[in-house]
Structures are given as C-alpha cells and as structure tokens.
C-alpha cells in the first residue's frame, strides 16, 4: 500500500464529506427560511450519497489501521477520522430530519416562525462551517471558538422553548405546528453539539489533548 497517499486521500475524502454535509444543512435552512418545499424535498431524499461516503471512509480508515500500523499524529488522525465520519453522517441525518419536520409543518395552520429558530439554525451552521475549516487548517483557536459558541446555541434553543410556551396557550390550534418547530430547533441544537464534538476531535488530532468532558 502507498501509506502516505492513502492517508492524504482519507483526509481529502473526509473534507469532501464535510462539504457535502454542510451543503445539506445550508439547503435545509434555506428551505425553512424561504418556505421552499422543493428544497426540503431534495434534502429529505439525498442521504444516500453521504451514507456511501461514510462507508467508504470507514473502510479506508480500517485499511490504514490494519496495513499501515499508524502511530503518533497519524494514529490520532485516523482514529478521529473514524469518529468525525460518523458524526458528519449523523449531521446529514439531522438535516434530513429538519427538512422532514418542515414539510410536516407546512401541512398545519401557518404560524410565524420565531426569530430564535432561524438564529439557532444559522448559529449551528456557522459552527459546522467553522469546525470544517478548523479541520482543514488544523486550527485549534477556531476549535475553541466553536466550543464557546455552543452556549449561545443552547440559549437560542431555550428561547424557542419560551416562544412555544407562550404561543401554544395563545393559539391552541397551532400546537401541532409549534411542536414541529420545537423538533426542528432540537435538531439544529444537536447539529451544534456534534460540531462541538468534532472541534474536540480536531484538538486531539492537532495537539494530542483529549478535551472532551473538560473545559480546557
């Protein structure tokens, strides 16, 4: 095997998968902001490509582990690739979930969406974009920024919850729609959480420090 080329390919494929997942999240947000059901339908359908990439990346990482005997930075990178790979696939699933929930929402009585939902969606997307840039540039400072952003996302999710608490008693007929809004908010909050996990994986790759479950 050509160890160095396979390692480079692995990196390239993971970044490509990241770009594809980011595009999927952006499309889901556009669908919600522009009330674009076609865009939502596209996001809902297009998961196979991400699933295929996930399997290919995992196979390539396993091959490198088995045949290349990686150590040090290479070992940390491959272990993190395996984790980031499934984390990205999960984000793809969550983007699909957002699109599905939005399509369901459109069947109910129309309600004005809370600003906190769109702010939350954009904040989660920014965290994802930043962490992918940090992965590409091995940028620890940007990873720390992503970790700090998670607090704002939690605040925004709480703001959506407050909105629902006030909206449901006011318009009981909009209860089902409000539940869909809460479900969408929860999915974007999960995307932000996963972006934070990826930031911690990138810090592990670059510095060899395990910062999960710590405030470092």
């Amino acid at each position: 095997m050509d160890y160095q080329s396979e390692l480079l390919d692995l990196r390239r494929n993971l970044l490509s998968m990241g770009a594809l997942v980011e595009q999927r999240v952006t499309r889901a947000i556009e669908a919600i902001v522009d009330h674009d059901l076609d865009a939502a339908q596209q996001v809902r359908k297009g998961d196979d490509e991400i699933d295929d990439m996930e399997v290919r990346i995992e196979q390539a990482a396993m091959r490198l582990l088995a045949l290349g005997h990686p150590v040090a930075g290479d070992l940390r990178f491959i272990l993190s690739v395996m984790r980031i790979n499934s984390e990205l696939e999960r984000i793809g699933d969550l983007a699909r979930g957002c699109a599905k929930r939005f399509m369901r929402l459109s069947n109910y009585e129309s309600i004005p969406l809370p600003d906190a939902l769109t702010d939350l969606a954009f904040a989660a997307r920014t965290m994802l974009s930043d962490v992918l840039a940090a992965l590409s540039n091995e940028d620890q400072a940007l990873c720390q920024q992503v970790r700090r952003s998670d607090r704002r996302v939690d605040d925004l999710q709480r703001a959506v919850l407050v909105w629902a608490r006030e909206e449901i008693p006011r318009h009981v007929s909009a209860t089902a729609a409000a539940i869909e809004v809460l479900a969408i908010a929860q999915r974007f909050e999960r995307i932000a959480d996963i972006a934070t996990n990826i930031a911690e994986d990138v810090i592990f790759v670059v510095a060899g420090r395990m910062v999960r479950h710590s405030r470092d």
Partner: protein, 280 residues
Amino acid sequence: MTPASTMEHTPTHLDVASSPTRSAESETPGTPAIMVGKFSAWYGAFQALHEVTLEIPARGVTAFIGPSGCGKSTFLRWINRMNDTIVSARAEGVLSLHGEDLLSRSLDVVDLRRRVGMVFQKPNPFPKSIFDNVAFGPRLHRVYSRNDLEELVEQSLRSAALWNEVKDRLHSSALGLSGGQQQRLCIARAIAVGPEVVLMDEPCSALDPKSSASIEDLIRDLRARYTIIIVTHNLQQASRVSDMTAFFYEGKLIESGLTELVFTNPSQKQTEDYVTGRFG
C-alpha cells in the same frame, strides 16, 4: 550520579572470580538502574554519540529506536563494555549502573558482564548441549555442584519459557533447536548468571513472526525481574514490548519517555516523522 569520567580502550582478560554485588531482586521497579549524563562516544575521530543524558528505570523494558547509524547499538555496547575490544573506541561522560561507574578503568569487566547480559541479533548457541549452554556462565562463575547446576539450568530454561520443550533432551545439541528456541536458549544462558540488566540487540530480526511473538511474550514476563534494554528497528515491536522508548538520531538522543506517549503524542517533530515512517 557519579562524577564524569573518561575512558580509553583497555584490553581485559577473562577472570573467573565471582563477586555478585547486587541481585536483580533488590531493585525497585521504576527507580533508575542506569544513569547516563552527557555521555559521548567516539570511534577514532568519528563521534558516534553526543552528550546523551538519560535515566533507564529498573525492572522495565526500555526500547532504543532510530535509523541505522544513529548510535543506539554503540550505546548498548558501552553498557556492558563490549566496545573494549575496539581499539579506537572511547567515551566520556557519566554511565553508571546503580551508582557504579561503568567507564572506570578498574571495573571488573567479567563481573560486569555477569550483571549485564546480552542477547544478539542472531541466536548464537555454543556447539554444545542445551544443558551445557545454560550451565556455561554459572560454571565460569564457579558454580560446580551438579545439583546446583541442574537447578539453575531448569530455573533459567523455565524463565525463558523453553523448559517444557527441551526437558527431555537437555543433553542434545543446542544447534538442533529451531531459531526461536535457540534465541530463547540464549536468553536462558544470559539470565542463568543472575544479571541485573539484559541487553537485547535486535533479538527478533532473524526470527519468523511466531518465534518473534514468543520472544516478545518472554520479554514481557522477564520485565518484572530484570532491567531490559532492547534495540529494535521494528517500531511495532518497540511499542508492544517496552515501557520507555528512547529515540536516537545522528548520535543524539532526540526524545525519551513513556512508550505510550512517544507513539501517540511525541514531543519532537523528528520523533513524529520517524515513528510515522516519514524518514529513516
């Protein structure tokens, strides 16, 4: 630490005096057995080692890694004064075993080699019986009683995980053993004289994977009783068997530390590049 000393080549002669100064059992795991301070070595005008400073813990396995010509074998050979046979070899700095200056001209080299055993790349049993190979060292150190010798040979062969395979043919030629068995016999021969330190210079490089695995198992078993230093080009082997790893490059000690750290998060870029196969 002992004061720095210098040493020129001094021819030595074998002497059968046995003076066990310290038993391996008296060492505490983790405390330094060998102290090295600003140790430099030359072959004539060529400087093979540059001011190496290192502590080698007792009762554990330390691996020396590095590309060919980096000085790791030279360093190993200074620990039991194998370089005494090379006229142009000289060294300076601190090299001590439990505080005893290994570079001292007055050091009893025969006794040192009892305390510091060595296992070489290719198994080198003597053309004698299995029993006589293991009994060779003890006899040299004046163990003559048949009962004592039999007990020592059995203990050593058991420690080297070879007893069950050879107990019924102890008086057959050692040359009839397989490569892996011969190497375990050489380890039994090295430990029969009760060394504190066992040096291993590429002990598995001439063996097939199964025999290598059995030697690695043996090294893991022996680490509780002996201070083991292994020179190896096989990085996977170093990472599997050693507690500490020291990386040498161009005669300099670049990095040393816990093997787990050296192989997962080395502090020096040269170490990272070497262990990931980017050079060497």
